[in-house]
Amino acid sequence: MGKTFAEKVLARKSGQEDVIPGQIVIVRPDHLLTHDNTAAIIGKIGAELREFGVARKEMPVIVLDHVTPAASEKTATNHKNIREFVDRYGIANFYDVGTGICHQVVMEKGHAKPASIIVGSDSHTCSYGALGVFSTGIDRTEAAALLLRGETWLRVPETIKVELKGRFQPGVTAKDLVLTIIGDIGADGASYQAVEFHGNVAALSIEDRITVANMGIEMGAKVAVFPVDRLTRDYLESVGVSESDYDALWADPDANYIRVLEYDLAAIEPVLAFPHTVDNVKPLAEGNGLVFQQLLLGTCTNGRLGDLETAADILDGHSVAPGIRLLVLPASRQIFDQALEKGVIARLSRAGAVILPPGCGPCLGAHQGVLAPGERCLSTANRNFKGRMGCKAAEIYLASAATVAATAVAGTLSDPREL
């Protein structure tokens, strides 16, 4: 019997011949990602850190991104404590305020290598599945235990296979695809399971794959993963990871799947996730006439150069409609710099967008664009939960960068295919 991606990685990494779904394995993750929550994590284990030290200094990757620059004395103190920890324990991979959103930074800095295991105290750690990584979210206590001991347990997941064919129509994006899948199978449709993407994955750019893998958690998945192909190898090469640095793995053709889904990309239409769950997905037309006060273009889901360029192309020659605040949040400094050099930031700003520093910004409702009661936000982020953007009496809708830009121009919800 053939093996799935998850079965192969977990067998290799736990030093076993063969593993089966449901089995618990002990692994030493290649990396542990933590962000601003590092302060809370090390706060749990002050005495133990002094006694035992950090298990492996090259394992942690720490990125300050969630509330950056600090918004209060408390968050500033957290950042300060994290910098002191990094210095004291010689943590090799630390990225301070302004480098970007942790998930983008992990990939950009070459930490995400195919068939490696990365765990992170952030649910969207599953993003690196775009590069063939077994990556998944954990909690803060587990991150603390990993800092001390360097190993953890994982349950071998069952796997869902998603077979892709065809190509997107113009104006339709990977965001519409992943929202459609989540709408179909539900927010727990892949709970505890791995999701593998097969078929015409070449129709998806690396940026597209990151958008899809990023939202794996919104269908409950443990990992959402793509095969390593020419595009992946080129991307890795561009971030300084050469082919000799990794040994990729992929599922056997006769692997065993718990469920198989098929999607024709040509049949995907622009969609909208209505409040207050990500799986409340409907065709864009059902939101006709919706008026928004705030639009958010960015986050770890859709804050990459392609997203900013798509929006700039749509906004060229127009201004953001009256009554709308368009917030633009590049996912990293590298993306911000590229967008500056290409003139994309100038085009967005001239159209009336507010450019925020690279980081999570308003995505988690802590600062920089909190909503007021009764307001509505259309966002390219991954979550529309009640209260997510700081106000439980506000509404958040999710869509692609193209839909957000089209709506910025029109002033009400707008279909990017009709421009």
Partner: protein
């Protein structure tokens, strides 16, 4: 003992709003905001030994252990659910909070029913019905028996000396 019942897909922003994640860390800071956007009465009225019945995908969304810490601290005896989101499930194991996956028991429960559960035996009683649930694997029970993942980890580090 009170029984609290909630529906499907309750996410972590409802259990503990994201805006507090960098300002509230200790159990005392967390408890007043527990379930704030789901049921504002919960944090005032919950008490030690209470049980929760919940729908599918409970605790979905962000990796956020604060609700688990809070529920542990107020002394919730167990959450009996149709299903739990995986990071929440892991967080519960790591904190020693008891989660029981038993959809039949959740469906059977009506307000006012007498409820009890037996973790070792793997059964939940709701009114006259008795429902079984699968036992946890030994690796996981070892973490719970040690009092959670941190005590377990520290024991292992000491053993390794």
């Amino acid at each position: 003992m009170k029984v609290w019942k909630y529906g499907d897909d309750i996410n972590t922003d409802m259990l503990f709003p994201g805006k507090y994640t960098y300002s509230c860390g200790t159990a005392e800071e967390i408890i007043p905001h527990l379930f704030e956007d789901l049921d504002p009465d919960f944090s005032k009225a919950v008490s030690s030994g209470d049980l929760l019945f919940v729908g599918k995908n409970f605790g979905c969304g962000s990796s956020r252990e604060q609700p688990v810490l809070g529920l542990r601290a107020v002394g919730v005896a167990a959450i009996i659910g149709k299903g739990f989101a995986r990071i929440f499930y892991r967080a519960a194991i790591n904190q020693g909070l008891v989660l029981v996956e038993c959809p039949e028991a959740v469906d059977a429960y009506e307000p006012g029913d007498k409820v009890s559960f037996d973790l070792e035996g793997g059964t939940v009683k709701v009114g006259d019905g008795v429902f079984t649930f699968p036992r946890l694997p030994p690796e996981i029970l070892a973490i719970r028996d040690a009092g959670g993942l941190l005590p377990y980890t520290i024991d292992k580090l000491r053993e390794g000396r």
